[in-house]
Symmetry: C2
Subunit: 372 residues, 2 copies
Amino acid sequence: MPHQIAIGPNLRKSAYFEATLRAGGKSFSVYNHMLIPSHFGDPEAEYDRLLNGVVMWDVAAQRQVELAGPDTGRLAQYLTPRDLSKACIGQGRYVPLCDHDGWLINDPVLLKLSEDRYWLSVADSDIHLWAAAIGRERGWNVQIREPDASPLAIQGPRAGDVAESLFGSWVRDLTYFGFAETRLDDIPLVLARSGWSKQGGYELYLTDSSKGDALWDRVAQAGEPFGIGPGAPNDSERLESGLISYGADMRWQTHKATPFEMGLGAMVNLGAGHDFVGRAALQRLADALPARVRIGVFLDGQPPLPGHSVDMLKDGATIGHVSEFAYSPRLRRMIGVGLVQASLAQDGLAVHIALGQDKVGAQLTPLPFSMP
Amino acid sequence: MPHQIAIGPNLRKSAYFEATLRAGGKSFSVYNHMLIPSHFGDPEAEYDRLLNGVVMWDVAAQRQVELAGPDTGRLAQYLTPRDLSKACIGQGRYVPLCDHDGWLINDPVLLKLSEDRYWLSVADSDIHLWAAAIGRERGWNVQIREPDASPLAIQGPRAGDVAESLFGSWVRDLTYFGFAETRLDDIPLVLARSGWSKQGGYELYLTDSSKGDALWDRVAQAGEPFGIGPGAPNDSERLESGLISYGADMRWQTHKATPFEMGLGAMVNLGAGHDFVGRAALQRLADALPARVRIGVFLDGQPPLPGHSVDMLKDGATIGHVSEFAYSPRLRRMIGVGLVQASLAQDGLAVHIALGQDKVGAQLTPLPFSMP
């Protein structure tokens, strides 16, 4: 039975909240203390738009943490194991963040807007508190705030057509994660070639939340010839594509993971002269192979889904966990992603998944899933 | 129209989640990345139990941040402006937390379990990240983790009867915020005389989440002679009582406030030799009167409620905001709480509230509300 969500003042409303209600938003989740649509009542159409056309998503809950001031670059570099020495204005970069023990606490995209103003486009944890504490404890001159910035994603193979009709043909020249500050008449925004799918597209970081309705309607109009419709970050597609979801796949409080376990080891720069939070711990971890690795699973049949992380078993012993399952329309079967003991990460290995009282058969497979 | 909540792996389930579904949980919110029931379909009965009987609440989403190790006391004192020099094992203490600029970022209850193990029972922000960053940047020997601790609250005038029948008559001797580690047969927990209402009661911090169902059922059975039933932290009662809700009344990202503005100035200890996060900023703020103060409002009529913070107006100018409204059954009218310019905090002052396109009349009144 579906349960209601309590819409009260403790949960923030997106700049597009009213627009998503008008568009038929049926179900919401919460991300960075903000309501985020999870579907509009027709999951198959929403998946189809993403794969074959274009879909628009209210992802304003992907909040920005702004670093501003003379020590911005210094703090940003200290916050992430990834080397930022070649970071450019106008070019985003995926930057895992770890705590002092090397556990992942978020995995934002960094947007360098100018030499002394950066945004971290964060997953679901309060990075503003962490970043500000570190900057101030180190005595660096950098201010942390949450700017008025509300991403609206357009994703899918026709997203470029929609973006071009809105902004002009220059949008085709943006590299992946490239971005530019621009306007739609009186609507200010940052346009980025990005989004949480592998189907391509753009994110429009609206920088005046009073214009959420106006931007939503402009995008819907421009997208009409291309069959645009509303949707939300899509579990099936993100599992198929092997995208990481901080909060679902790992979370500091409940199921910690390191960048090496999550396949992000290449982003940990242990070169000389590069100091960052968690360096000593990550150095120790880098000296050994990770104990666990990311893996995909094919699940037998179509059992009811748990809605939370479950154990993966081999011969009755726990060998890992699956963090999320979904039906893959392209593969026509249930798939999942998780972490497994590295020594058992074998393509085709038969395992069991603990679903309530039942054990359901499953087979391991590398990520991302191979599509037909 | 009510909207559904998306129950997925990015939102944690409480130790009592299955029990609350069995008990008829209809609506949920999200707090500290965890689902929390908001009502069970009969708000009037839930209020009545709280005021006149006893009600049980799943408040496991009030998570604990554990500080452990030799420098625990030192870090705890540095995290809060409140003087902890007289903090005792077994006696909780309300401890506002501020950032380095003096803005509130949480307002937990501190539980000193031993000399080197404290819990912060936190409101809705990721204090674990902030506390760990500060401890580690200062080089102190203290580990931060989230323990397996899930509060279940019993609140109302008959809560003492329920607690006594479960644990024995010693529970009557606990002072307000007093607590003790104890057991119910094989169920380990920390029993505290506390809870987010002014009706009195206890919180049972279950420390083995696999026993959530068992504890819920034990409490429901013990409470049956006293008419216990399920409920949730109650907006009407908390507004009547003037209780603060971090996230609703103030939030770092959206509507910042200082401890002086929130009526917590007496907890800011600026005595010599006491260093803490935000001290310099709070010293400056303490030298002046706060620009804004907390206030209650009576709202004319029963207009539809906005579900978010709205402006308070006088002669067309914004003079403050109201963070939440609810109907008060005891006062038989709509009430709210907010912040107003200190010079205008006058009992009975007529103001307007901006509700969508409308301006609705309202009158200011001191907090807590006077009950008939």
